[in-house]
Symmetry: C3
Subunit: 476 residues, 3 copies
Amino acid sequence: MTEPWRLSPERCFDADPARRAVAVRLYAEVRNLPLVCPHGHVDPALLAEPGATPGSPAELFIIPDHYVFRMLYSQGVPLEALGVPARDGTVVETDPRAIWRRFCEHFHLFRATPTGLWLAAELVELFGVTEKPSAESADRIYDHLVACLAHEDYTPRRLFERFRIETLCTTDAATDRLDHHRTLRADGWENRVRPTFRPDAVVNLHAEGWRASVEHLGALSDIDITGYAQFIRALEQRRAYFKELGATATDHAAETPYTARLSATEAERIFTAALRGTATATDAAAFTGHMLIEFARMSVEDGLVMQLHAGSLRNHNDALFSRFGPDRGADVPLATEWTRNLRPLLNAYGADPRFRLILFTLDESTYSRELAPLAGHYPAVLLGPPWWFFDSVNGMRRYFETVVETAGLHNTAGFNDDTRAFASIPARHDVWRRVSCDWIAGLMLEGLIDEDDAHEMALDCAVRLARKAYNLGSGA
Amino acid sequence: MTEPWRLSPERCFDADPARRAVAVRLYAEVRNLPLVCPHGHVDPALLAEPGATPGSPAELFIIPDHYVFRMLYSQGVPLEALGVPARDGTVVETDPRAIWRRFCEHFHLFRATPTGLWLAAELVELFGVTEKPSAESADRIYDHLVACLAHEDYTPRRLFERFRIETLCTTDAATDRLDHHRTLRADGWENRVRPTFRPDAVVNLHAEGWRASVEHLGALSDIDITGYAQFIRALEQRRAYFKELGATATDHAAETPYTARLSATEAERIFTAALRGTATATDAAAFTGHMLIEFARMSVEDGLVMQLHAGSLRNHNDALFSRFGPDRGADVPLATEWTRNLRPLLNAYGADPRFRLILFTLDESTYSRELAPLAGHYPAVLLGPPWWFFDSVNGMRRYFETVVETAGLHNTAGFNDDTRAFASIPARHDVWRRVSCDWIAGLMLEGLIDEDDAHEMALDCAVRLARKAYNLGSGA
Amino acid sequence: MTEPWRLSPERCFDADPARRAVAVRLYAEVRNLPLVCPHGHVDPALLAEPGATPGSPAELFIIPDHYVFRMLYSQGVPLEALGVPARDGTVVETDPRAIWRRFCEHFHLFRATPTGLWLAAELVELFGVTEKPSAESADRIYDHLVACLAHEDYTPRRLFERFRIETLCTTDAATDRLDHHRTLRADGWENRVRPTFRPDAVVNLHAEGWRASVEHLGALSDIDITGYAQFIRALEQRRAYFKELGATATDHAAETPYTARLSATEAERIFTAALRGTATATDAAAFTGHMLIEFARMSVEDGLVMQLHAGSLRNHNDALFSRFGPDRGADVPLATEWTRNLRPLLNAYGADPRFRLILFTLDESTYSRELAPLAGHYPAVLLGPPWWFFDSVNGMRRYFETVVETAGLHNTAGFNDDTRAFASIPARHDVWRRVSCDWIAGLMLEGLIDEDDAHEMALDCAVRLARKAYNLGSGA
C-alpha cells in the first residue's frame, strides 16, 4: 500500500532551515486571515441563485478553466475530448467521467506548475482526496468528488463561508443589469460580493457585436446613443449604477497601454463612423487610447479605482477561436511599453489625489524598468500583483525581487486571485501568503528588515494593501 | 607544493545541505546515462575519416572555438596571435605551443563562465590534467596533452564510445553531399551519427554566394532551378535525401522569426529577381518569412522536425568579418518578437499533429512572456533548451524558473549541446544534468513536487525529452 | 525599554550558514579598502570651499535627494512639504525640523529598499543614531543629528578622510570653469578629487538654454562658435582643460544609444540650423547620434575614458517639471536597444586599443541579451555597474548573475556610487562589497570557482576593476 497523497505543510518555503522557520512563523500569523478578493471572474449567479452548484467534477475543475485545458491541448488532447463547448456545432464529449479520466491520465503535465499546485490543494485540502490523479485512480477520485459535491457543505455559499472570503469582486460588462448583485444585496450579502465595471465591449469599436452592445447600453441607461456625448453620458450613468450596487472599481483591458486624448471633434467623428460601421483599425486604437483617459477622468470624479490590464494578444489561434470562442487558453503576451504610452494619462491625472490607477502587466521585463519607477513616483499609480501566467511561485518571487526595491511595498496593491475557478480561490491566496512570508523571511535573515518590519509587511501583503488599494474597508 | 587541481564533485549544486543531498541522489541516477545530442556542429569528417584526430591542443581547445577566443580578444589579444585563420592573407600564429601559452596566461578571464567550467572539466576529467592553466604551468600541461592525444584512446571514435553518445546529429548545408554520413552508414554507425538539413545558405537571398549555392543545389538534385517551383522541388528532394541518410530534423536560422506567406506570384517574382541579382533587402526578408512557412509545410508532409534559431545579429564587427569571416564571436543578440511574428506559421500548422517546431531564443525576456505561453498552447510547439550564451549554470536556472511554470516540462525539448567542440560534449551535458537535478531538488525541498515526480523529471531532462522531441527512439 | 536600533553585521549575505561564512571571510578582506569613486555627482564646492557644511538634517538627507523625496511624493506627500525648492515661486516648507518629521513619519515606506538601507547605515554607523525614525522618535533624532553636524568631525573634508575615499570624480558641465577643482589642486587634493567632462547641455540641441550654453562654451574657449568646426574645436579644447585638471573620463547621457555618423555637410547644416533656432527634433536626434561617434574619436585621441548612460525618459511629469525643474525623481526608464544602435560607433572604434567605452543601462533585459555579448567581444567595451534603480541588493545580484557568465568579470568596470548624497557614499560601496562577496561565496560553495579565484575576484570588485577601467592608478 502506498502512502496517502499529501501536501507539504511547508510548501513554497525556501529550503534553508533558518529562513523557513521565520517563514513558518510569519505565515502562522496570516494564513487564517479573511480573503480579500478585489478582482476576479467568479459568476455571481453561483452565489445568488438558490439552487446553484459547482456541477460535476469535470464542470468544477476542467471545462471552464482554460489554465487546465490549454495544457492538455498543448500535448495533443483536443478540446472536444475535454467537453469544452464549441460554438460551431461541433460535437464534444458530454460524459463528465470520461473527461475526468482524460484529465487524470495527463496529470503529470502539471508538474511544477501553479495549476498543479492549486489543483492539488483543492483536491487534498478542500475535498480530502488521498490519491494522486492518474489513469488508475481516476474513477475512485471521481466517485469521491461526486459524493462530496452532493453534500450541503459544498454549496457555493457554504464554501464562501468556509473560505473566509471577506469581499469578492466580480467583473461585469457595462451592460450587465447586475440582477445577481441585487439578489445578493437583498440577501444581505452586499458587502461580501461587489460588481466591477468593465466596459471593454462598448469601448473596443471592433469587438464582436459592438453595435449591439452600444444599443444595449443605451437601452439600459435610457439614453439614445447617437453620438459620442450620449455615449459618455451613458457610461457615467452605468458607473453610478455599479457604484450604487457596491462597486469600488472599474477594469479595462487593452492590447497596449497607449493613451492619447482626442479632440472632441475627432472623438465624435470616430464614434459616429463606428456607428456607421466605417471606423478603421487606426480609429479603434485611437479611440481606446482616448477612452482610457476619459475613464481616468470619470474615476477622478466618481472615485472608482481604475484597473488596467494590458499586453495580451487575444485569440492567437484563429481556428480554435472560430470553433470555441474567446478565453480558450490561446492568448499570448506581447512586449509592452508603459513609459511613453501612459504619459498622457498620467500627466492629466497621475498626481490627482482623487485618482487611483492599478496596473497589470504580462511583460515581466517592465516590472523593474517601467512599472516600479512609475509606481514609485506618481501618487495615483499602484502596481497590481503578478498576473495570469505569473500568478505562480516563481512569478511572485520575481515580482517581489524586481518591484519592491524601487516602488516600495506601499505602492503595490496586494493580491487578487483573478479567477473564474471559485474553488481555487483559497489555494491561490495561500500560495501568495506563503511566498510573501518566505520573501519577507529572506529579507529578515539577510538583515535587510527587522522583526517589526516583517510583521507589518506580512499583514500588508495578506490583506491590508488590497483593502486599501480598492477602498474596501474592514473592521479587522 | 600546492594541491592538485580538482573539480568539486558537487559543483553546480545549491549550497543548502538538504537540497544538495537530494540533487546528488537524483544526479547519481542520470549522470551515466547515454548522451542524446540532437543538435550540434561537430564535423562528421572527424568520425568518418579513418585518420582524423583532434589535432594539437591549440586546434582542439582554441582555434575553432569562438567561445574561447572571443573572450581573449575582448581583453586585447588579437585573433592573429591565437592562430585563428584569416581569409585576407594576414599572417597568423602557427606555433600551437605559443597559442596555448597565450591562452593559459589569460585563463583567469574565464572565471565564473560556462566556458571556464567546460574547459576545466575537459582538462581534468578527460585528460587528467592536475594543474590549473597559467603562464607558469602552460608548457607542462601542453606536453601532457600532446602525449594524451598521441594515444589511441583519444581518437574521435574511441572518444565517442567513451562519451557514451547515443546519437549525434550534425548540421549540414542543403547542398552537402553527406559523403561522411554515407561512410558512417557503411561503417555501421547510421543510428549514431545523423545529418540535419540546414538550408539557410540557399534561402537567404543576400547570403554570400547565394547564386552559386542555388546552382549547386540544382546540380545535386538534377533540377534546373530557373524559378521558384524548381527551387521548392529541389529542396524537397534534398530533404528526402537527408531523411534517407538518417536525418530526423531540419534547422533554420533567421535574424527575426518573422513569418508571412507570399502569393505564388510574389514568391516567383522575388526568386527570379534574386537570380538576376536585383532582389532588395525587403524582398529577402519577405522571402525568408515565406520560406519558414513553406518549410513548416514540408515538415508536415515529410515528418522532419523543424528547428528555428532566431535573434542573432551576425558579424557585428565589420573589420573582423572582412578579415576572419563568419562565426568569430562577433554575433550579438537582438530583442526578438515571437508572438506576432510566428502567428501566420502557427495558424497554418501549429495544431497539426504531424508537425513539430522547436524554438530557440537569445532574448531571455521572451521565455516567460512569449515562448512558454506559445509552447503551453500550440500542440506543435516545443521550446528548445537555453541557447548559446545561455547554455550556462545561470542560463539554465533562469530557463527552468521562467519556462516550466507556464509551458510545463513536457513542452520543452530537453538538452542539446550545439557545439563544434567535440571534446566538450560530455562537460556540457554534465552541467545540464547537474543543474536540472539541482532545480528538481529545489522543487522537492519546497514541497512543490514529490519523490516520484522528481525521479521522472530527472530522467525527462537527461534523455527522454530530447529523444521524444527529435523522434530519436531508443531501446533504453 | 526597546532595544537600540542596530544593523545586522551580516546584512546582504545569503542565509545559508556555509555560504555566509565564506562571504564574511571575503568581506573582511575588502571592507576597509579605500573607496574608488570614479563617477558621481557630489558638488566639488562641498570639499573646496572652506566653510562648506552638509547643512541641516533636512538638507543632508532629504531636500537634495530625489531617491528620498520621490518615494514620499508617491505616497501623497507634496514636494512643497519637503522643502524641495520650486522655480515658479511656489512657497515651500522652510523649517528643517518639520521636513525631518514628515520624513520620519513615512520611514516605513523605505522598507526593503536600497534607500532605506543606505539611510539606516548613515544614521547608525555615521551618526550613531540608536532609534529607528518614526513620528515618535523624529525630534530626538533631529537634535542628535544637529549636535553631530556642529562638530568638526562632520566637516566634508574630515568625512572624506573618514570615508577613506581614494579618488572622487565629480560630473561637470563642459562649460564649468572648474574653479573648485583648481582650489582643490592648490590645496594638494588633485589626486583625490577629479572632474569629469559632461557636454550634454551643448550637444543636445533642444536642451533648455542650448544657445546660451554654446555661447558660454565659446567664451570659455576663446573661440567664436559660428559653425560646426569651431564647436568641435571648442569641445576639444575644453577636454584638454579638464584633462589638465585631472579628468580621466567623460560622461554622456542620451535617451537612446543611437549612433550614426553624419557627413561634414550635414553636421554643419544641422549645427547652424540650431544656432538659428530652426533645428528639428529629427535633426537633434541625428546630431546626438553623430556626436557620440565624434566623442569616441576624441577619446581615441586624448585618452579620456568615455561613459555612456542611456535609456532614461527625463521629466516624465510635466507639471512637476514646470514647477520644480529637472532631477526630481520623475525620470522613467525606457526599453533600450544597444546592438544595432552602437554598431556604427563600435565599427569605428570598438577594437581600437586606445579607446575605452563604459556602458550603463536602465533596461536589465539588455544585460544578458546585448551588453554582456558586446562587452565580451569588443576590446574597448566595459559594462558599468548596476545603475540608479538597480544600485540595490537585488539589482547587483541580477547583474552578477546575468552579466558575468557571458562578459567575464574583467569586462566590467567595478562599482561607482553615482550619488549627489555625499554622506551616503560609504553605505553604497559597502552594499556593493557585501553583495559581491556574497555572490563570490555562492560561486565557491557551488564549486564553480576556487579559493584563489574568490580572493582575486573580491579584490577586483572592491577596487581593482574601477581603478583599471578609469585609469586611476594607485600605490595600493
